[in-house]
């Protein structure tokens, strides 16, 4: 069997194993979904009037703020879902079965690839669920073309992949599942200091560069442009650069820790 077909076959076996885990124990994934949905409802229904007034210079109504916040909430959903990947990788690494996998003639990377693909699929599923809630409370993206929709989907997948590899690296570096959950927390908190809830331009001047150039803001601005037709500018390539960079970094980090001798 060639290396590639071995890699595909073993990785899909590992993926099936991870999806089986997710199906048997859905509470982790479902818990992680709660945060973005609650924040969406909180900002729209509780803070909605003030936020809308701030966005539109005093004249906007709530539906405009719904449109503004949803792209950010979708990206935040990804940030939250990948915490699950960090936790399940850390849990897995503490189990004896990983030692068994290491002594079998299987594709070396398949254990991690199975986790990564599983996590990206969970991200897509979570984005669909949160997106459905958004549509239910009035979010519409009727102006976008099919191509823009496809590009938006591609961006969500790419962003999921990038954050997943980082989360897997965090899971590999953590001594326990709890520690992994804690070290991956920034992935769901980072959107709070991005343009997800308020435009970066309304933040204090010294803080604006941080908000503008962190990975979430360009990704959110690109998604917003694709779904709602706002200006994308340079954001699309900065977002792609971030995704590629984070993927490469997370991949190197994770595989290096996996290939190190276990204790």
């Amino acid at each position: 069997m060639s290396t590639l077909s071995l890699a595909v076959r073993d990785s899909s076996t590992m993926l099936r194993r991870n999806l089986l885990h997710a199906r048997r124990y859905p509470s982790l994934t479902l818990n992680l979904l709660l945060t973005p949905i609650m924040l969406l409802l909180l900002f729209v229904y509780i803070f909605g009037d003030v936020m809308s007034a701030g966005i539109g210079g005093g004249s906007a109504d709530r539906s405009e703020y719904v449109a503004y916040i949803v792209p950010g909430i979708l990206m935040m959903t990804i940030g939250g879902t990948v915490i699950g990947a960090a936790v399940s990788v850390a849990t897995d690494m503490s189990e004896g079965i990983i030692a068994r996998f290491r002594t079998m003639a299987i594709h070396r990377g398949s254990v991690l690839i199975g986790h990564v693909v599983g996590s990206v699929l969970q991200c897509v599923a979570s984005v669909v669920v949160v997106g459905a809630v958004a549509v239910a409370i009035g979010f519409r993206s009727t102006g976008a073309t099919v191509l823009e929709w496809l590009a938006a989907f591609g961006l969500l997948v790419l962003f999921s992949l990038a954050l997943t590899w980082i989360a897997v690296g965090m899971g590999m570096a953590s001594p326990s599942a709890e520690a992994a959950g804690n070290s991956a927390q920034p992935l769901i908190l980072l959107p709070l200091i991005s343009s997800a809830f308020i435009p970066a331009g309304t933040m204090p001047g010294w803080f604006q560069p941080i908000a503008e150039y962190q990975p979430f803001t360009p990704a959110i601005e690109t998604l917003r442009g694709l779904l709602l037709g706002s200006a994308i500018g340079d954001n699309w390539w900065i977002a792609i650069l971030w995704c590629v960079g984070l993927t490469a970094l997370g991949y190197r980090w994770s595989t290096a820790s996996f290939n190190r001798d276990p204790k």
Binding site: G96, I97, R100, T103, M104, A105, D261
Partner: protein
């Protein structure tokens, strides 16, 4: 002459491993013929698990020429992996899924076809008495069931060399005997078994060859019989219940080793019928009447304690303590 290396399933020369400045394996040599059971015996912390981890490609050695299944560990680890099966000390099962799903996972990773995988899984579940539990999550299994599943999973790919790291630790006596039966059955099919144990009885019971590991070195190696010959001969033990009778006997039998606490005397004896009769005759003529007489032949316990730092042995070279 290349035939010797071919008939060896596991071969290690000068195996070394240190964690930081703590030397775990200090240059050990091992030679395990194909189709035999080899036991690595040693107390906790002797380096048994490290040896298994290295030979099963889990951990890299610092030094040593190592071959498993005819393949060099350093240059062809995947070929080694293809010929081995490993059951580690801590169960290598997936607790979140069922026993059957664990078996099918192994079948998939060994690239068996769907029908072949199902058949192999069903056969092994049957053989290890896990049919009833097959559809239950492994997290609900008892320790003995997890061990059996663990071994069943190891056997899915029909490995020619099997590593078992303390296969019976934590098992009740019945499960232990079941496990021994399983191990014997494996070897009757031509498989080589490399097991570690801290139970002397287990090594004596199962192994063709035993190596005693102590402080990262092989203290002795050989068959159980050969090892037993390393320690001085056996003895006859006389026990008394009446202190007065004990005192009288101790005064008469001057060459016996006396244990005042236990009211017992030990007379050196090889344990043959002739030696025993002469002792009995002598006891009769001396008018000694013991309440209990036991014949003690040297067993692996004596070897073990002698080699791993218990009593001093005249014929074993001991390192000077620095």
């Amino acid at each position: 002459m290349t035939t010797t290396s071919h008939s060896l399933a596991i071969e290690a020369k000068g195996l070394r491993k240190a964690y930081g400045d703590r030397t775990v394996l200090d240059g050990i040599d091992l030679a395990v013929p194909a189709g035999s059971i080899f036991a690595l015996l040693g107390p906790n912390g002797a380096g048994k698990t490290t040896a298994v981890k290295i030979l099963s490609t889990l951990v890299t050695a610092d030094a040593g020429e190592l071959r498993v299944g005819g393949h060099d560990l350093a240059s062809e680890p995947q070929a080694v992996r293809a010929s081995i099966g490993v059951t580690g000390q801590f169960s290598a099962v997936d607790g979140l899924i069922t026993g059957e799903e664990n078996m099918l996972l192994m079948a998939d990773l060994h690239h068996l076809s769907r029908s072949e995988g199902r058949r192999t899984a069903a056969e092994l579940l049957e053989r290890f008495d896990l049919v009833e539990a097959a559809s239950k999550p492994v997290s609900t299994y008892s320790g003995g069931m997890k061990r059996r599943l663990d071994i069943a999973m190891t056997l899915v790919g029909a490995p020619r060399i099997i590593f078992l790291d303390e296969p019976t630790t934590g098992l009740d006596p019945r499960s232990r005997h079941t496990m021994w039966g399983i191990i014997r059955e494996l070897v009757s099919g031509g498989v080589t078994v490399f097991l570690t144990t801290q139970y002397l009885e287990e090594a004596d019971e199962l192994a063709d060859r035993i190596a005693v590991l102590s402080n990262g070195r092989i203290a002795a190696e050989g068959s159980a019989e050969e090892l037993k010959r390393l320690v001085p001969g056996g003895h006859v033990r006389l026990r008394f219940t009446d202190p007065a009778a004990y005192q009288a006997a101790a005064a008469t039998l001057r060459e016996a080793t006396a244990d005042d606490e236990a009211l017992s005397l030990q007379i050196p004896s090889g344990g043959s019928q002739r030696e025993l009769r002469s002792i009995l005759d002598w006891l009769d003529s001396a008018g000694v009447e013991a309440d209990e007489l036991t014949v003690h032949t040297p067993d692996l316990d004596d070897v073990f304690f002698a080699l791993t730092g218990g009593t001093n042995l005249p014929d074993q070279t001991k390192e000077t303590v620095r």
